[in-house]
């Protein structure tokens, strides 16, 4: 099976050129009441690169993604997208930045009052008002075809399986042709075959679109398949960051235990 390591050329170019870092998180702190979730985390991802963020439940992986897209505000630190700090941006100004970011939610978060096609068309209706209805329809069909959901355009989200919901969520996330893709547990709750299909799909999209991606997952197999680089979080900090081989060679107890249990 192909993995992200098969296509390292663009990644190497990006790493040499520091300015190519599309998402840069620096010294990020976030707490909810007395609970410190992130304690000065720093991460970055370049164009064409996929970073997998792993860790135990409750270590702030999903919070990190929500901070990157501005759904949560950090206590301190910065999140830069294309060098622009998003902290303190007004909602409408954030909109311009968010158009460059596709987000797949853990439970897909499809709009339950809209059909599958309506969900994918939703961002286009609001941001591509120059598109005719027919053009929008064609684009929706193309996006759903890319994620392997050619049929069932008129079905409601409640009538399709979890795996299909993830595919539709992915198609919706790709609708505005984002430069950055954030995936929150893309394979959680899916059977191994559906997980593998989602991994292949993400890999295919990465090869075709060369986006900067951050994938939050518990699934080490999935992370190895789709990511160029892995980061393990513990107690709100990055314990280790590097390739899977780097992780394997680590002497850190937590990393060893994490790999052993994965």
């Amino acid at each position: 099976m192909a993995t992200a390591y098969d296509n390292p050329t663009k990644l190497e170019v990006a790493r040499k050129d520091g300015s190519a870092q599309v998402v840069a998180v620096e010294n990020l702190h976030k707490s909810f009441g007395q609970l410190n979730v992130l304690n000065g985390i720093s991460l970055g991802v370049s164009s064409g690169e996929t970073l997998a963020v792993l860790g135990r439940s409750g270590t702030g992986k999903s919070v990190l993604l929500r901070l990157i897209i501005g759904l949560e505000k950090p206590d301190s630190g910065s999140v830069r997208i294309h060098g622009q700090d998003i902290a303190g941006q007004a909602l409408d100004r954030m909109g311009e930045i968010r158009k460059k970011v596709g987000f797949l939610f853990q439970h897909a978060a499809l709009y339950d009052s809209l059909t599958v096609a309506g969900n994918v068309a939703f961002p286009l209706e609001h941001h591509r008002r120059d598109m005719s209805r027919a053009e929008r329809g064609d684009r929706v069909n193309q996006l759903l075809s890319e994620v392997g959901m050619e049929g069932g355009l008129d079905k409601m989200p409640s009538d399709i399986s979890g795996g299909m919901q993830k595919r539709v969520g992915l198609a919706r996330a790709l609708a505005l042709e984002p430069e950055i893709l954030l995936l929150d547990e893309p394979t959680a709750g899916l059977d191994p075959i559906s997980s593998g299909e989602i991994d292949d799909l993400i890999l295919k999209l990465q090869h075709e679109r060369q986006m900067a991606s951050i994938v939050v997952t518990h699934d080490m197999h999935s992370a190895r398949t789709i990511a160029n680089r892995l980061a393990i979080l513990d107690q709100g900090n990055v314990v280790i960051e590097g390739s899977y081989e780097d992780l394997q060679q680590s002497e850190i107890g937590f990393v060893k235990e994490f790999l052993k249990q994965s």
Binding site: A109, L110, L176
Partner: protein, 279 residues
């Protein structure tokens, strides 16, 4: 002396007895919650106002909400207005007969329905139907991350979800009130004419004799404020909810309870305002 003083200081440092401490903490919690709620409502209102007055405007969603709030509430409002018309007719006829003032029946009914009962009944019925619906729908969207998904899609949820719903309530309440008034007057006249024949023309001409626009327009248009309250409370409770199914239920209940409460309190203020300004 110094010994007694140090004893007094030591006494003050003693923790309060447990029931008192519990009461003090509870009272403090209630006060903090009260001000926090109003503070959050103020911030929410400001966000909605900013979103409502800046483009792009969500016309299609507004039309959908006008239908949702207006057309779909119409049967219920007409039914409630009709029932109130019959009740007022029966009560007014009985009370006026006792004082030998039966000739005042049309005026009494017209003024009672249009100035008092029509607006408040419409407000309460719409608050029950629309307020609960908005609270539950938005809360459900919130807990299933659909509102986050809207925001992540670079769409302002305050503009798309809240501003359209609140505006629809503001625009539709006066129209629904007119419908409730009309049905109330019609059934009131009908109930009266069953007991004692009275032509509709005579009922209307007597009822509205000497009436001015000032007598009827302000009570009708004050319901736009009811609409603002219903929409604002419903959207606020829905969009700021926390928790799962329990949060959704709480948002729906609070939307109706708080909406009705604020609506009645607003009525007190608005009645006084109308009396001072328009009479």
């Amino acid at each position: 002396m110094s010994g007694r003083g140090s004893t007094a200081v030591a006494d003050m440092n003693q923790p309060l007895p447990r029931p008192l401490s519990y009461l003090a903490n509870s009272a403090l919690g209630v006060c903090t919650g009260f001000f926090e709620w109003f503070g959050n409502l103020g911030i929410f209102s400001w966000q909605v106002l900013k979103a409502a007055v800046t483009p792009p405007y969500e016309w299609r969603e507004l039309v959908r909400q006008l239908d949702e709030v207006g057309s779909k509430s119409l049967p219920l409002v007409v039914l409630a207005g009709s029932a109130i018309g019959v009740v007022l007719s029966l009560e007014a006829r009985y009370s006026l007969s006792r004082f030998g003032a039966k000739s005042m029946f049309p005026v009494t009914l017209v003024y009672s329905v249009i100035q008092v009962m029509g607006p408040i009944i419409t407000g309460l019925v719409v608050c029950g139907r629309v307020g609960a619906g908005m609270g539950a729908e938005l809360a459900s969207m919130k807990v299933s991350e659909q509102i986050d998904a809207i925001e992540a899609s670079a769409i302002n949820p305050y503009r798309l979800l809240a501003a359209t719903r609140i505006l629809a309530c503001i625009l539709m309440l006066p129209l629904l009130t007119v419908a409730a008034d009309a049905s109330g007057l019609l059934t009131g006249w009908f109930a009266q004419s069953l007991v004692e024949p009275l032509s509709f023309h005579q009922f209307i001409s007597t009822g509205f004799s000497g009436a001015t626009f000032n007598a009827f327009l302000p009570p009708t248009f004050k319901t736009a404020v009811y609409g603002l309250i219903i929409g604002l409370i419903g959207c606020f409770q829905g969009m700021k909810t926390r928790g799962g199914a329990e949060g959704v239920g709480r948002a729906a209940t609070n939307s109706v309870v708080l909406g009705s409460l604020f609506l009645i309190m607003a009525d007190v203020v608005l009645v006084k305002f109308i009396l001072v300004v328009f009479h």
